[in-house]
């Protein structure tokens, strides 16, 4: 009995070597003659679960692509796991995607803390970490993390645009900031610092934070109101944004309200908070709003609507996450098309960082996806929009942020 063990162990080891040898020979992980595997982590449960709709939309989008014949003769196998917006679970799921499922690339993984937990690992593994569904400014750091690239305008760019508008429209404003106490919220504080420069301390009279575990933000709003704030910038995830809008109405307090683009979904934020309570809120937009009559005959939105009716029947079409997910899916498809028959990880990354003015169907006119090996901020433009009670009404020009 004792003697058999080394033999058995030797056989196992030989088997492992043979297996890993076979794997090493496969030049393109996650790609076969008939299939491309794309991995994704999403908050289908947990505090940020309203965004789960993005993953559902992308799954439906790739199903449509497959029904239409796939890309480069291959079908897309979109593997999306729930991480509950919890970084330890993201680590677990991303490891599973890379090591067990052996995906070709990761696409549109949701969240700033979650992606932060895996960026080092993914870059060490040299797996394309594409178009992250987070607006943190850090995803543009192509020198340190060449395999990680963001997607939407960064929060910092967005806040800079709000700051510019505040300076122009209400130069004597007493600005108050309500921000989530993490990278996401702090990007807005930094963006306003970018915009106000050395005037920051005179412009911003109060900045208060909340934790995503807080039950309410009532106390913070009371603090801002009693400080005499007349321009409020809110950097909060949907649930708290809805609370803020409702509470402002309850308090009968009407500051000029700038709201992060993260939380402008009509279905997930404004409807629960009360559509009337949100009138006058200003945000920065880069996707079209499905409730806006201007896009009734827009070819891009018609395309999206046809997709929604066929592949996501019964889904609330006022939920902006579906419109965002469609644009992200199209961008991924564009990269795969650009790849042609070379679907190696190196080439996927090369193509993802060489997108020249691609226009997804659901982005606002004038907003483009453009990347280069030294610019990892795919979308850098926004147009301000004001909620008029029925839809987001765009005003002013498309503003390009510095994309630092």
């Amino acid at each position: 009995m004792i003697k058999r063990r080394p033999l058995l162990g030797g056989m196992l080891a030989a088997g492992t070597v043979a297996l890993s040898g076979a794997r090493a020979r496969a030049a393109t992980p996650g790609v076969t003659a008939t299939e491309i595997k794309i991995g994704n982590t999403e908050a289908y449960s947990g505090p940020a679960s309203a965004y789960g709709m993005i993953g559902k939309t992308e799954a439906a989008f790739f199903k449509m692509v497959n029904d239409q014949g796939g890309v480069n003769g291959r079908k897309i196998n979109f593997i999306s796991y729930d991480d509950g917006y919890s970084p330890p679970r993201t680590v677990e799921q991303v490891r599973k995607l890379i090591e067990q499922d052996e995906v070709a690339c990761l696409f549109n993984d949701l969240g700033t803390p979650t992606n932060t937990a895996v960026e080092k690992y993914v870059n060490a593994k040299k797996v394309p970490h594409l178009f992250l569904a987070t607006g943190a400014n850090k995803w543009g750091d192509y020198k340190r993390y060449p395999w990680t690239i963001g997607f939407q305008p960064s929060y910092r760019t967005e806040a800079e645009i709000y700051g510019k508008h505040i300076t122009a429209a209400t130069p004597k404003a007493k600005v108050g900031i309500l921000y989530q106490n993490d990278d996401f919220g702090k990007d807005y504080v930094n963006g306003l610092k970018d915009a106000f420069g050395d005037k920051y301390d005179t412009m911003v009279i109060k900045a208060v934070s909340y934790e995503s575990t807080d039950p309410t933000v009532d106390s913070q709003l009371v603090t801002l109101q009693s400080a005499g704030v007349d321009v409020l910038v809110t950097a909060a995830i949907p649930k708290f944004a809805a609370q803020v809008i409702k509470k402002l109405a309850d308090m009968a307090w009407k500051p000029q309200h700038y709201l992060t683009n993260v939380s402008i979904s009509v279905g997930a934020v404004l409807k629960p908070a009360g559509l009337k309570n949100a009138v006058g809120i200003i945000t920065g937009a880069f996707i079209k709003d499905s409730t806006d009559a201007r896009w009734a005959n827009d070819p891009g939105m018609k395309e999206w609507r046809a997709f929604m009716d066929k592949y996501m029947p019964g889904t609330d079409q006022t939920d902006g996450n579906t419109i965002y997910g469609y644009a992200a899916g199209q961008t991924m498809l564009q990269v795969l098309r650009q790849c042609g028959s070379d679907l190696s990880r190196e080439n996927i990354m090369r193509q993802a960082t060489n997108i020249h003015d691609f226009v997804p169907a659901t982005l606002l006119p004038g907003v483009k996806v453009a990347t280069s090996p030294t610019n990892y901020h795919p979308i850098r433009q926004m147009q301000l929009a004001k909620w008029n009670g029925a839809h987001w009404e765009n005003f002013g020009d498309v503003i390009e942020g510095s994309g630092s």
Binding site: S49, T213, D218, S219, P272
Partner: protein
């Protein structure tokens, strides 16, 4: 000065939320001498049930009553099916079941009703009162919490059933000897706690909005409230809940800053356990071994 007053009133309103959930915690503790970690998720589940009935066209109060009754039944069933086999198991085994229940309720709530934040109607109207210091709903829900408190107090203090329940939790063996049906008392406790949780959920949801994780943060503060007031005392739990709301607001606004607000709840829990484990109004339970 207006700011201070507003912070206190807003703290009382938030404290009302904690108080109502703390009552459910006291209920389950009184009946079983355990704290059910799934209490919050069960309440969220019940709240979704209520929303379902309202969307089906039931008037608010009809949906309210149906939900409370169903939640009671659900609590009883859980005790009978899941907790009963645990009767003689160590406490840690029960805790394992509680955490399992928490995950099951959280995930199935999301799977059934999805995770999108939803608005929940209030029967008290949404008009700002006192110049925006407090909303109609906040006033109404505080009144409901006080009514529930009164009912719980009267139940435990003046009814035979309440006395039997306390006895069953305190000394199961002797209770059984004098004819108390201990098993059913525990089931009843679970049912009542689930029903109170349902009421709390329906009162909380219009303020914080309904999503499957609605109760996550709230339960922690409610636990701090229940401990502060004394987990054996319904009145103490309510006072504790309101106090935590006010303390949290005042400390957050004027002393420690918003970044340490959550830590404050944990500090309260630890401080109470170290200095006065029975809480402000609770009785010290001495068990002879």
């Amino acid at each position: 000065m207006a700011g201070l007053l507003h912070q206190i009133l807003s703290g009382l309103a938030t404290g009302g939320i904690y108080a109502s959930v703390a009552l459910a915690l006291v209920m389950i503790y009184q009946a079983t001498h355990h704290v059910n970690f799934a209490q919050g998720e069960m309440a969220t589940f019940s709240t979704y049930l209520a929303l379902m009935f309202i969307n089906l066209g039931l008037p608010y109060w009809a949906a309210f009553v149906v939900t409370v009754v169903l939640s009671f039944a659900l609590g009883v069933v859980i005790e009978r099916v899941l907790m009963r086999p645990m009767a003689n198991a160590p406490v840690l085994a029960s805790v394992g079941v509680f955490i399992g229940l928490l995950l099951i309720f959280n995930a199935s709530t999301g799977a059934i009703w999805d995770y999108t934040t939803k608005a929940f109607p209030t029967p008290f109207g949404d008009r700002p009162l006192l110049g925006g210091y407090i909303s109609g709903h906040e006033l109404g829900s505080t009144a409901v919490t006080l009514v529930v408190l009164l009912l719980v107090y009267v139940f435990f203090r003046y009814t035979r059933l309440g006395l039997a329940m306390r006895a069953a939790a305190y000394n199961p063996v002797s209770s059984r000897l004098v004819g108390v049906r201990v098993g059913w008392m525990l089931a009843l406790g679970w049912g009542l706690a689930a029903a109170i949780g349902a009421v709390a959920g329906m009162m909380v949801a219009p303020i914080v909005f309904l999503d499957p994780n609605m109760m996550g943060g709230i339960l922690l503060y409610a636990f701090a409230g229940a401990l502060l007031g004394g987990i054996t005392s319904p009145l103490g739990a309510v006072i504790g809940g309101f106090s935590v709301g006010v303390i949290e607001n005042l400390a957050g606004a004027y002393i420690v800053g918003t970044e340490l607000k959550l830590s404050l709840a944990l500090v309260i829990i630890v401080a109470v356990l170290v200095i006065r484990p029975s809480g402000l109004m609770g009785r010290t339970i001495v068990a002879r071994v």
